[in-house]
């Protein structure tokens, strides 16, 4: 075995020497044979002739010897590669066009695949992530809702489907002490939260059940990042105190790097290493009051338990709970959703559409390459005929041509990979800010394998048909000298035209897709959001309960801040609200009673609630429709007031004047204080940029409700960034220990909300542009080729009296004849694919006539442009040279 290997590698490494020696050996044999015949009395001539006959094909013997040496496959391949390489270098323009178009399309595919691989294919970084599920509640009003803490405890105690179960809820904390205070993303978690995820602290431990008891909560688990930046990676950090929300917390654990937050819904924080502090969630209060929903469940399925089984079981538990607590727990369904779909589900459709689009680009590039190869194969008929006549088997010719296309495609792939490195960086920069797993997107091992595979498959795909076609060359036909009139078969011309039609069709599909994305994006940009996003600076401030322990203190702080801001030059108005539009806030209040109206049993009232100060609405640019804004007079002790949006007025007081009407959350209101009076109606702000309208909402006066976590809004005359320092100074002059977080402009928030459709449009548009360019090159290739073929015919036509204009028109018509069926194919295909896009579209039908007409026109223009140069050449056909040649 080893000898065998040594022999083969020797034969390979010393290929030239071995071949020379074989030559010498065979010549020796031949001479001996001639000598033998001479001795038997033949003439020199006769002896040589006989010896040659006896010897058979010299080349064939050599080929057989190579085979016997066991190195023929590699040697043949090297041979083919050398041959192919010479051919490619001899036709630099052809090679360059092929390699570059393939590099672009393979590179685009590798880049998109990098995203797919990082986001969809790579496993989530938890132990056995396929067993992790998220748990939500659902009813008609709220399709996906957090849990009530007591519900969670019941689920945890009663289920048999989960190996472990935990809950978590967003609660950012303010870190102070040394340096400027900062706000950290924080989560309250139950014990066992990290055990469910399968991540262990690198130092210390996570919270035990003791920490779930109210009063035991001054403990913290911190992220690796915080440990390094704030504690200098001190290995003895366990037991140290850290000031969070102005209270001393004891560090009990440090999580390792790569501890990724699984994403959440309530006050959502994107998936990723986005959390710095975890604090213990404690269960306090009355376990019979179950109306408040704000913690989210996560659980690990027992081995062998399916999501469906678990769902059935927890719904049965929910049924028991509804029986025990009919007030809070009835009417809910439990959702059990695999963590994977929860994290990447929303991006899946978009990524698959992008993969489809970029796949179409590659397909077009393949068709293009096949077409170019076909054209060249007819130009090479003579060369191939010679090889066939010399006895090369047809399979060998196919192999040789395939080697050529493989060299082209693999070179293209290698260049493409280089492009992908840059492309991936650009893609990640372009990704929407909350895109999950963006940091997992790299050109990694699987991407390399994918690229190699795609390159090889591409080479075979576009190389095989032309190679088979060429190997069918008839040596006799091909060897006839006059290459100019060498007749390409009708079949071949039809094949090439069909390929162009296919190319144009595919490009149409992408153009229509890009058109739909563009209209979606424009529709979203043109939407009236219900507020004025320009010239608004926003920030968030959270008042620690320790220092701001009364409603008066809280209200006073925001009041003073607004006054300080209003005094700054350039500030038009300033205020604070519980939330900013489109930032994931979703607080709901249900079951209020409306004065003078009977509540219907099955029709529970509900509205979103917010808090706001006097200046909030004018700072956000939300118009007042009726009544008034809040004033400082709407404080504790004064009559309770609310401001409602137009949707709430229309829903609960249709056709009436809502001002002065009252609602209450009290089931038996006795005194005036139990009622809240509507003092103003403001315009609707869309819940999401693409939602059809707004849910009913109302605002409490911050002076009465005293919400400690508020967003600040400052409307300025010019660039709002100029007041950012002013805002920080104002806050710190009131309280130097407060962190000013999330300082940005409102139009950044608005911008982020359309970043996904923009991302999709930019990419699909880019691919569509590439596609139509490739299709144009393809059409040009075919037209130019047929014009070259028909030059004698054109010459004759001119000789017979045709005008240049006639010839020009003839060629342009031919091009349009290729484009029209392409457009028909493309539109039909796009219609059947429209459904796939539906969820990514806004305000535009997949069969939008404006888009179809513009795409048709665009394709016609491109096809005319592509054929213009060849048509000019045809029009200039010289009758004399034709007549001379014939």
């Amino acid at each position: 075995m080893l000898d065998d290997l040594r022999y083969r590698s020797h034969a390979l490494l010393h290929h030239k020497q071995v071949e020379d020696e074989l030559d010498e050996e065979l010549r020796f044999h031949f001479d001996k044979q001639v000598e033998k015949y001479r001795r038997s009395g033949m003439s020199e001539e006769e002896a040589k002739r006989r010896a040659r006959l006896a010897f058979g094909g010299h080349e064939q013997v050599k080929e057989d010897c190579r085979e016997a040496r066991g190195t023929s496959f590699i040697e043949l391949t090297l041979d083919d590669a050398r041959y192919a390489f010479r051919q490619l270098v001899a036709n630099p323009t052809f090679t360059l066009v092929m390699v570059l178009t393939l590099a672009l399309s393979i590179g685009a595919n590798s880049a998109i695949f990098s995203v797919i691989n990082g986001v969809l294919l790579k496993r989530l970084p938890y132990a056995q992530p396929e067993r992790l599920v998220r748990i939500f509640l659902s009813n008609n009003e709220y399709p996906k809702f957090p849990l009530n803490p007591w519900d969670f405890l019941d689920f945890r105690a009663r289920n048999h489907s989960f190996e472990s179960m935990a809950a978590f809820t967003r609660g950012d904390v303010q870190l102070s002490g040394e340096g400027e205070p900062i706000r950290l993303n924080g989560f309250g978690i139950t014990s066992g939260y990290f055990r469910v995820l399968g991540i262990h602290p690198q130092i210390g431990r996570e919270f035990d059940f003791q920490a779930e008891v109210p009063g035991n909560g001054l403990q913290a688990v911190i992220s690796d990042r915080l440990w390094r930046t704030r504690f200098g990676a001190d290995p003895n950090v366990i037991g140290r105190k850290v000031t969070l929300n102005m209270q001393p917390f004891t560090v009990i654990g440090v999580m390792p790097r790569g501890t990724e937050h699984p994403g959440n819904v309530y006050h959502s924080l994107a998936y990723g290493e986005s959390v710095d502090v975890w604090w213990p969630f404690s269960f306090g209060g009355n376990s019979n009051q179950r109306g408040s929903h704000f913690i989210e469940g996560i659980a690990r399925l027992k081995p062998g338990v399916s999501v469906e089984q678990a769902k059935a079981e927890v719904n049965a538990v929910m049924g028991q709970m509804a029986h025990e607590h009919p007030n809070g727990d009835s009417g809910w369904n439990v959702l059990v959703i695999p963590l994977y779909s929860e994290v990447v589900g929303a991006t899946r459709q978009m990524l698959l559409v992008l993969l489809g689009a970029v796949g179409i680009v590659l397909l077009i590039a393949c068709v293009n390459a096949a077409n170019l190869l076909l054209a060249r194969a007819s130009a090479r008929q003579q060369e191939i005929a010679v090889r066939l006549a010399m006895g090369a088997p047809r399979l060998r010719v196919v192999r040789q041509l395939l080697t050529e296309s493989l060299i082209i495609s693999v070179t293209g792939g290698a260049l493409g990979l280089g492009l992908a490195f840059g492309g991936v960086r650009a893609l990640v920069a372009l990704l929407p800010a909350d895109f999950p797993r963006a940091h997992d997107i790299h050109v990694s091992g699987p991407v390399l394998v994918f690229t190699l595979l795609v390159s090889v498959l591409t080479g075979i795909l576009f190389g095989l048909a032309p190679a088979m076609q060429a190997s069918r060359t008839d040596p006799k036909q091909g060897l006839k000298h006059n290459t100019r009139t060498t007749t390409t078969s009708r079949y071949q011309n039809r094949l090439r035209s069909a390929l162009v039609v296919a190319e144009v069709g595919l490009a149409c599909v992408l153009l229509i897709g890009a058109g739909l994305m563009l209209r979606t994006l424009l529709n979203l940009i043109r939407l009236d959001p219900g507020f004025q996003e320009d010239h608004v600076l926003t920030a968030s401030i959270s008042l620690p309960h320790n220092r701001y322990n009364s409603g008066e203190l809280t209200a006073q702080f925001f009041d003073r801040l607004a006054a300080k801001m209003n005094a700054l030059p350039g500030v038009e108005s300033a205020g604070a609200g519980s939330d900013l539009p489109w930032t994931g806030y979703d607080e709901n209040a249900g079951g209020f009673n409306i004065e003078g109206k009977k509540s219907e049993a099955n029709q529970q009232t509900h509205a979103r609630y917010h808090m706001a100060t006097a200046g909030y609405f004018s700072a956000m640019g939300i118009p007042l429709l009726q009544g008034r804004f809040f004033t400082e007079g709407d404080k504790k002790g004064a009559p309770q007031v609310i401001i409602i949006n137009h949707a709430m007025a229309a829903k609960y007081w249709p056709g009436e004047d809502a001002i002065g009407k009252r609602i209450t959350f009290d089931d038996n209101p006795k005194k005036d204080d139990d009622w809240m009076r509507v003092v103003g109606v403001v315009g609707d702000v869309k819940d999401q940029p693409n939602s059809p309208g707004a849910e009913p909402s109302f605002w409490w006066s911050e002076y009465q409700a005293s919400e400690p976590d508020m967003s600040i809004a400052v409307r300025t005359k010019s660039d709002p960034r100029q007041v950012a320092d002013g805002l920080r100074n104002a806050v710190h002059s009131l309280d130097p220990e407060l962190a000013v977080a999330d300082v940005k402009q409102m139009n950044q928030v608005a911008d982020a909300s359309i970043s996904t459709p923009r991302f999709t449009f930019v990419l699909v548009g880019l691919f569509a542009g590439l596609a139509i360019l490739l299709a144009g090159i393809g059409a040009y290739g075919v037209i130019a080729y047929t014009v070259a073929q028909r030059t004698p015919e054109f010459g004759l036509r001119v000789a017979l009296g045709a005008q240049p204009g006639d010839l020009l028109r003839m060629v342009l018509t031919q091009s349009v004849r290729l484009a029209v069926p392409g457009i028909v194919v493309g539109v039909t295909l796009a219609m059947s694919l429209g459904r796939v896009l539906q969820s990514l579209l806004y305000g535009v039908h997949p069969a939008d006539p404006i888009i179809l007409i513009s795409v048709t026109l665009l394709v016609l223009i491109v096809s005319l442009l592509a054929s213009y140069a060849p048509a000019r050449r045809a029009a200039l056909a010289d009758p004399m040279s034709t007549l001379r040649a014939e």
Binding site: Y7, E25, F28, G56, D64, A68
Partner: protein
């Protein structure tokens, strides 16, 4: 001219190995020798001789070296290796068994 018969499959290797048993030979001599000894009944086509030599060498049963022929030309000589000798014994025995068995069937039937 004596009638020549086709070599049965697999016997070419045996013939080459046996021909090399007395000592090293070049390709032409091997084919001449087989033809002579078999009284011109067996002849090895050059087209099969050289691929066979390369194959045997790859298997390590023979080895080659360059030497000088009787008329002072460089020629490639092949000789048996120890493994080649063993193989020759094995194949000779197998061949004998085969021919005896075939003979018996022909007689007996």
């Amino acid at each position: 001219m004596t009638e020549k018969i086709e070599l049965p499959q697999g016997t070419l290797d045996l013939l080459i190995l046996r021909t090399l048993l007395p000592g090293a030979q070049h390709g032409w001599a091997i084919s001449e020798r087989v033809q002579q000894v078999s009284s011109e009944v067996l002849s090895i086509q050059q087209g099969s001789l050289y691929p066979a030599l390369h194959r045997l060498e790859r298997r390590g049963w023979i080895k080659s070296r360059w030497g000088t022929s009787d008329n002072n030309r460089r020629a490639k000589y092949y000789e048996l290796t120890q493994r080649g000798r063993n193989q020759l014994e094995l194949e000779t025995e197998a061949w004998r068994k085969l021919t005896v068995a075939v003979e018996q069937v022909l007689e007996g039937a």
